[in-house]
Symmetry: D2
C-alpha cells in the first residue's frame, strides 16, 4: 500500500533510504506566492542534524537541501515542491557482519515479515533519516503559516526520570539550547541523565512538548478528523514515539469535571474560554487558545551493550553494534524539530481544509 504520504490538501510524500543515494520529499498543495528558498530549509535541517547537539549521533551529515521544482524567482508557484537531500559519508560496509541479525527494537524483523526482503544498510527506509524530509516540509508549512502569524514550538520536557513538564519555557534560551531544553535548570539535569545512560553504554527515553499559538477559533473537523486525532496520527508516525496527549492528557483521567471544565468569558476581542485545560480544542475544533500536548519517545534501540537475539534463520546470536558505529544515547532530542514539523504540517492542512467558499 502507498503509505509514504501525509496530509490531504497540504500533502507530503517522502522517499529514500539511510544508505541509498539520498532522501527527499515532495510538498504538494502548498499555496502559490509563498516566499521560499533553500536557506530557509537549511536552517531547519541544521536543527535536527546529528552533530548539532552534544548528545546526538556524531556521524557527520551535510544535510544540504536542494529545491528542484515548485519555486520560481523565490516564490512558490502552486506546483509540487520537490526537495532532495543527498546522502554523504555513507559507509555501509560495517553493516555487513550484522546483516542477517534481527536487531532488538528495530524494524528489520517486521519489514522481513511484511516484504520478505529488506535493505539492511543503516535501517534502510525505517531509518530516522526519513524525518529530515518531514523537517524540510515543515519549513515550507511554517512559511505558509507565517502569513497568519501562527507558530509552533517544541521542546524537550523530560529525559528518563527527570521530568520538567509544566516548567517555565524560556524562549530565548530554548533557541540556543543544543538539547532544546526549556530553561537552564532543565538542560543541566537532562545532561546529567543522558551522561549517566551514555556512561553505562545504554540509552534513555524522553518526552517532547509542543505548543501551537495564534490559532484562530473554528479550525478543525468534528467526528473523525478532529485536530487532536490528526496530531496524534502525526506524532505516532514519528519513529520511536510511544504516546501522545493534549491538554491535560492522561492527567485528565484523574480529574473531576469541576476542575477540568473551562468556562467562557467575554473580554476585549470577544468570547473566549476562561482557562485552557482543554488544550485549545473542543469537539475536535480549535477554541482559539493555544493547542499544546506531549509526545513520548522510547530510548534509542541501538545501545553498546550486547543483546541476545537470533539471525534470520533462527540461530541464536548476540547482537553488538559494529565497532566504530556511534548512536545517539537519546532519540527524543532529535525528535524535537520533527514534532514541531509535524504540528506545522497538521495545521497547514487543517487551514486549507477549513477555507470557506
Amino acid at each position: 500500500m502507498a503509505s509514504n504520504s501525509f496530509g490531504t490538501l497540504f500533502r507530503i510524500t517522502t522517499w529514500g533510504e539511510s544508505h541509498g543515494s539520498g532522501i527527499g520529499v515532495i510538498v504538494d498543495g502548498c499555496p502559490a506566492a509563498i516566499e521560499l528558498n533553500e536557506e530557509m530549509l537549511q536552517k531547519e535541517l541544521d536543527r535536527r542534524s546529528p552533530g548539532s547537539s552534544l548528545y546526538t549521533s556524531p556521524r557527520k551529515e551535510i544535510d544540504a537541501p536542494k529545491i528542484l521544482s515548485g519555486v520560481y524567482e523565490g516564490k512558490t508557484t502552486g506546483a509540487p515542491i520537490s526537495i532532495i537531500i543527498e546522502n554523504n559519508n555513507v559507509d555501509s560496509s560495517k553493516y555487513e557482519d550484522i546483516k542477517t541479525l534481527l536487531r532488538p527494537g528495530h524494524a528489520n524483523f517486521t519489514y522481513l515479515k511484511k516484504y520478505g526482503i529488506f535493505d539492511y544498510r543503516g535501517g534502510g527506509r525505517a531509518s530516522a533519516r526519513e524525518t529530515a524530509g518531514r523537517v524540510a516540509a515543515g519549513a515550507v508549512a511554517r512559511q505558509f503559516l507565517n502569513r497568519f502569524a501562527i507558530k509552533a514550538t517544541a521542546y524537550l520536557s523530560a529525559v528518563g526520570k527527570v521530568d520538567f513538564t509544566g516548567t517555565e519555557v524560556d524562549r530565548a534560551f530554548l533557541k540556543t539550547s543544543p538539547l532544546f531544553a526549556p530553561n537552564p535548570s532543565a538542560e543541566a539535569e537532562f545532561i546529567r541523565e543522558i551522561e549517566s545512560a551514555k556512561g553505562a553504554d545504554d540509552s534513555v527515553g524522553g518526552i517532547v512538548s509542543f505548543i501551537i499559538e495564534n490559532m484562530p477559533a473554528g479550525i478543525g473537523e468534528p467526528i473523525y478528523a478532529k485536530l487532536p486525532a490528526l496530531l496524534a496520527y502525526a506524532m505516532l508516525s514519528i519513529p520511536a514515539s510511544k504516546g501522545f496527549e493534549f491538554g491535560e492528557g492522561f492527567r485528565a483521567a484523574s480529574m473531576r469535571g469541576s476542575e477540568h471544565n473551562d468556562g467562557f468569558i467575554n473580554i476585549e476581542g470577544g468570547i473566549k474560554p476562561s482557562s485552557n485545560h482543554a488544550g485549545g480544542v473542543l469537539g475536535g475544533i480549535s477554541t482559539g487558545e493555544p493547542i499544546f500536548g506531549r509526545v513520548a519517545f522510547k530510548p534509542t534501540s541501538s545501545i553498546n551493550i550486547p543483546q541476545k537475539t537470533v539471525d534470520i534463520e533462527g540461530n541464536s546470536a548476540e547482537f553488538k553494534l559494529p565497532a566504530g558505529s556511534r548512536h545517539d544515547p537519546i532519540v527524543a532530542v532529535r525528535a524535537v524539530p520533527v514534532v514541531e514539523a509535524m504540528s506545522l504540517l497538521v495545521i497547514a492542512d487543517s487551514f486549507l481544509l477549513n477555507c470557506k467558499p
Copy 2:
C-alpha cells in the same frame, strides 16, 4: 470538509444527531460472505447502552439497529451495509432554556465558530450518541476478523485517582462487569471513586486499556500509516479522549534501552520477540505479539454544579443542567465498547490493506 468517514478499504461513515430522527452508519468495503444479522449488532450495542451500567446515563434508549442493505440471506454481499438506529424518548424541550449558553467543556462554542450555526439539542452531532454507529460497525469488523481468530478486548483500567493498569484481567469477570472492570477489586474501587464524584454532583475521568490478540506478524504500514498512528487517530477521534499510548507508552520515556528492547527467540512456531515491551509493533508493522495500549478520557463535561460562562451574545451567565436531565458521572465506562470497536475497525482495514496479490 467531509470528515464523517473512517478507514480506507474498510470504511465507515456515520450520520445523525442526538435529538434528530435517528443515527446511522454505512460500512463500506466489508468483504462478502460474512455472516451478519441484527442480533449480532444488538448484542454489542447493548454493551454501550446507557442503563446497562449503574453509572451511565439512565435515559432509556432502545438502541435497536436495523440493517437496511448489504446483507442477503444472513450474509454480507460486498455491498455497503447501512445500519440505522432510530432515536426514541427524545425530549428536546428541556434544552430550550439553555440554548443560547456556551456550555463549559462542550463543543457548541467551536461548532458556532466553525459553522455559524448549531443544533443545540442534546449536543447535536457532537453528542456521544454518534459512537453507537461506531459500535455497530465494530461488530461487523469483529465478524470479519473472527475468520482469522483475531480479537480485541477493552476494559476500564483507571477511574480518577484509582489506577489498575497492569492488574490481572479476569476475562470471565470482565464479561459481566457493568463497569468493564478487569477484576472484582478494581470494580469495587472504581465504584467508590465514581460514587464519590457523583455524591459531589461532580464527574470523574478514567482510562481504558485495549489489547488485540492473535494478530499475525507483518500487518501494518511503515512511515505514516503505522499501526499505532492509525490506532492513535482512531482513539483520539472518540469524544472526550485526551491521550493515547501503546506498549510501555509514556513509561518508555523513563526507561533505558537495555530495559525496553525486546530480543528475538526461535521457539516452536518460529522466530518471535522474547518479550513485548514494544506493544506488538516495530516500525509501524505488527510483530505477531499482542498489541496493547491505553486511552485517557476526561471527566464528563456535564455536571450538576453551576458553572460560570456567557451566552452567545457574550452576557455573563451561570450554566446549570436542566432539572431532570441526568448524565453519566463518568464517560470512560461507556467508552470501553467504543475503544474496542475502533480497534477492530483499524485492524480490519489494515488486514485488507495488507493483502498480497
Copy 3:
C-alpha cells in the same frame, strides 16, 4: 474495497439495493446554512422517476425522500445529510425463475466473479436505482451552487441513429419535455426512434449532453484531478455509460490547431477566450466559459427478445424477461437528471477544493 463514495470535500456515499428495504445517500461536507428541504429533493427525484416519461419503466415507484440528519430548521448545519428513499411496490418473486441465469449485458456475472455471491433481485446493488441517491445529492449540490449562480443543465441529444448534437436548446421546452429533448423537432424524432425499438421488443442507446454555466475562471486542478478528468470519472460511473467527451471531444481529433485554438480578447468584464472550442477548460482549470460535453449510453440490456446464455453452472439457457416485467426501451432518458447531478457534485467539490485561505 470501499467504493460507494464519490468526491473529496463534498462527498456522497450511497447504499441500498433495488429490492431491499430502501436506498439512501449521505452527503458529507456540504457547507452550513444552505436552505434545504424534502420538497427540493422530491422535485429532482420526480424528474428521474420511472413513469415521469412515456418511455421509461412504468413500474410505479414512489420515490419519497426523507432527510434524517444534517438539516435543522430548514438549513444545513455542516453535519452529514442522510437521505433515505424507501423501496415500495417491490415484488421479487418474478426473479425466482431466472435467478441462476447470467443475464446478457448485466453485472450478475461479474459480481459473482468478484464476490462469489449476488443478490439477484432486480439487479441488486447494480440496479440503476442507486442513481436516485445521486440525484438527491445533486439537489443538495445545486442548492449550494445557487449561491454562486452556477448552474448545470443536461438534455438528450441523440437517440439511436438520430443525433441532434449542436441543435438549439430551447430551455423552456426542455423543462417540460418528458424525454428531456432540447426542442420539439428533436423530441419528435426521438419518439419515433424509441417507438421503433420498442415495437421490435428491442432497446436503443442514446447520448446525453451537459453544460455548466457561470463557472468562474481558475477553478479545478492541474495534472491529475483536472476538471474534465473528474467529470469523466463521474460520468463513466453512471450505469450503462460508454463514453465521455468535452469541448469538441472526439471531433477535435480531426481538427487542425488553427481551427481548434481559442484566442483571448479583452472586453468589458476583463480578459476571456474569444471562442470556446476548449469547452471551458484549459490545463484542467476553468476558463470562465461554459463547460460542456457529452456522455454516451448503451441500449438497455433488458429486452423482450429471448437471448442465448448459460446459467451459473454453465448449462445453456435462453434468457427471457419474466412475464409482466417491463423495462425502459432506453436508459439515456432517465440518465439525463443523473448526468446533471454528477456535474453538480463535481463542481461543488471543485469549489470547496479551490477556496483560498
Copy 4:
C-alpha cells in the same frame, strides 16, 4: 490542493517543470521483490522521447532516468521508488519575448487565474514533459503486472480525417513504427495527414486506442470506482485529451440492445461472454475479456501560424512561436506510450485493491 498524485494503493506522485532542474516521479505502493532497473525505464522513455519519431518535437532531450530509492540489488523493496530525469538542453531565453502573452490553447491563462503567478518557461508545470514521469511509473507497473501476464498495448488509430479504428493491429509492425501505427497502410496515410498539416504550419489531432489483455474476471469496483471510470479519469488527465470511450463507446448510442448485448457461453476454461461489445467490463468489473477503448487528442496548440490574443494586461497582441522553437505537428503520437502507461497504472492499482484476505 494536492493534485499531483494518481492511484490509491499503487500511487504515483510527479513533480517538476519543463524548464526547471528536472522532473521526477515517486512510485509508492509497488509490491516488493519485483525486478526493476534503469534500463527498463529507459526503454519505455525512449518510446515517448521527442526525436524518436519523425513527427515529434526535434528538441533533443536525453531522458536518462535515475532510480534514487526503493530498489535494492535489482529488486523493489516495498519502499517508495523515486525516479528523477534531469532537464538538459534547456534554453528559456527564447520565451522572454512572449512571457506576458496569453498563449491560445495553453494553460497559462488558467494558471494565472488560479495561482496569480506562473512559470512561463516552456509551459512550466503544464508542459507535456510531466508525462515522462507517468511513462517511467508505467514501466514499474508493467513489471509488476508481468507476474500475471497482463499486458497493455496502445496505438495510434486516427490522425485528422484519417481513421483506422477497427483495423487489424500488426503487433510486430507496431513495435517498429515511429508513429505507433497499427499497420503499414495506416502509417502511410497518417504520414500524409501529418505532412499536410505541417506543410501548412499547422497541427492536427488524433485518436489513440488501447487494449488490456489477460485480465482476470472479477477485478474492479462497482458503483463509483468502476474500471472504466478510473480509466476515463486517467486518460482525461493526459494533456490535450478531449474524450474517452470503451467497448463500443459512442457507437453504442446508436445500437440496439439485441446488437450490443453479449451472451454467455461455457467453453473450455469455463463460462465467459460469447462476444465482447461491452469492452471487457460489466457493472464496472472485468469480465475476463480484453478491455479496450479510445482516447481523443486535440491538435497541438503550438502552431507556426500567428494567432490573435492579448497580453496579461489585456493589450491586443499577435502570438507567434519564437524563431527556432519547433513543436510536434501532432501530440497524439507522443501520447501513445502515455495512454499505455496510464492503463498499466489503473490496472496495477485495481489489482492491489482486489486482493482477497
